[in-house]
Subunit: 187 residues, 2 copies
DNA sequence: TCGAATTTTTAGTAATTACTGAAAATGTGG
DNA sequence: CCACATTTTCAGTAATTACTAAAAATTCGA
């Protein structure tokens, strides 16, 4: 790890430190960071050597990164070993990550909430609890459906939307007015 | 905990189980869930008793929840104890959570990236790494600025935007055309 | 300011998670 | 299908994190 060039080293170390906040461990964070910034696909031994981790630790880390769909397996011609690389398109990465996060961190809660909302509360406390769960369900459902929809747009469109910032409101208001005018004209 | 009515119990247990995936621990998850679904503010003893946790564990958990700005401290007249409740407005909750997450999980990385981008790479590997960091910085910066902007909109406007789903694209295209027409007219 | 109620800190312990080296399993070219 | 290169699993250990009970500190009314 110490023979990595300075920028790579800084990036890798940072991902190691942040790992725990992001719900992955130091090792997995560093492995991903290394793969992300490397120009060429890396094999497990490359990684173990560069980061000074045991070979088995790298193996487990790579499995986890595959589970997150953050690294792609690649085979180089004339080499039996498995090589890994990160998708080139950063939007692609962002979307996989978001989808996977939703699957793991949001969907289970949505299911639980849906189930709870089907039941009939047996007392006042549960009745209130159900109302709160209803509110939570509504918000999560709305934002996660929305995310899905937006993720389907092209990166360019998404970027365009984002660059608009809060002026989307103006656009929204404008289209509402257009709709009203159209409705009047039709009448 | 077992004398909680069924819906509350289910909700609280679920938050306990999900806690670790969300980067908080079981205890903190359950404490929050209990406060969230309760009709009235709760004090630390209420919580310790309901969930069968030690008093100190509850104290630490509440501290953490305050750090996340997920619970508000409230004082009841004629009672010296501290009571806690979750904000009523679910959008408020969503925003605090997102802001806090950004502050802890995103900002440090943005800083690191910015610093790295200022430096001059000393070799080809670092030059490539810097390009990747540039891509990452661009995406994170764009989406986090955007989130800030959107968060400033009213809940109604946000909901309206979200309900549009992927048809925002149509609106975006439409406004682009309007701008072009206007530009032509002005010329 | 004293003292009881309440909260916070702390030190020790339990539980969980991360990591390693070695052994087992897998897969592939010959 | 053998031999070997490579990956995966596993059992043991290290490190971290969570939790408790008890002590200390704080707060506030009298």
């Amino acid at each position: 790890m110490n023979q990595l060039p300075p920028l790579m080293h800084q990036f890798v170390s940072h991902f190691g430190e942040m790992g725990s906040r992001w719900g992955i461990n130091r090792t997995v964070g560093q492995i991903y960071a290394l793969i992300f910034v490397s120009a060429k696909p890396l094999n497990a031994d490359d990684i173990a050597e560069a980061l000074e981790f045991s070979r088995s630790n790298v193996s487990i880390g790579l499995k986890e990164l595959q589970g997150w769909r953050l690294v792609k397996l690649k085979h180089l011609p004339g080499d039996r070993r498995e090589y890994f690389e990160a998708p080139q398109d950063i939007w692609e990465i962002f979307k996989s990550l978001a989808e996977e996060k939703r699957r793991r961190e949001v969907e289970p809660t949505l299911s639980m909430l849906r189930a709870s909302l089907m039941e009939t509360p047996g007392n006042a406390a549960d009745a209130h609890a159900q109302k709160r769960m209803q509110q939570m369900h509504e918000l999560i459902d709305l934002s996660s459906t929305w995310f899905d929809d937006v993720a389907r747009l092209s990166p360019e469109t998404i970027a365009r939307l984002m660059r608009m910032g809060s002026s989307v409101k103006t656009v929204l208001d404008m289209t509402d007015k257009l709709k009203i005018v159209r409705r009047k004209n039709e009448a």
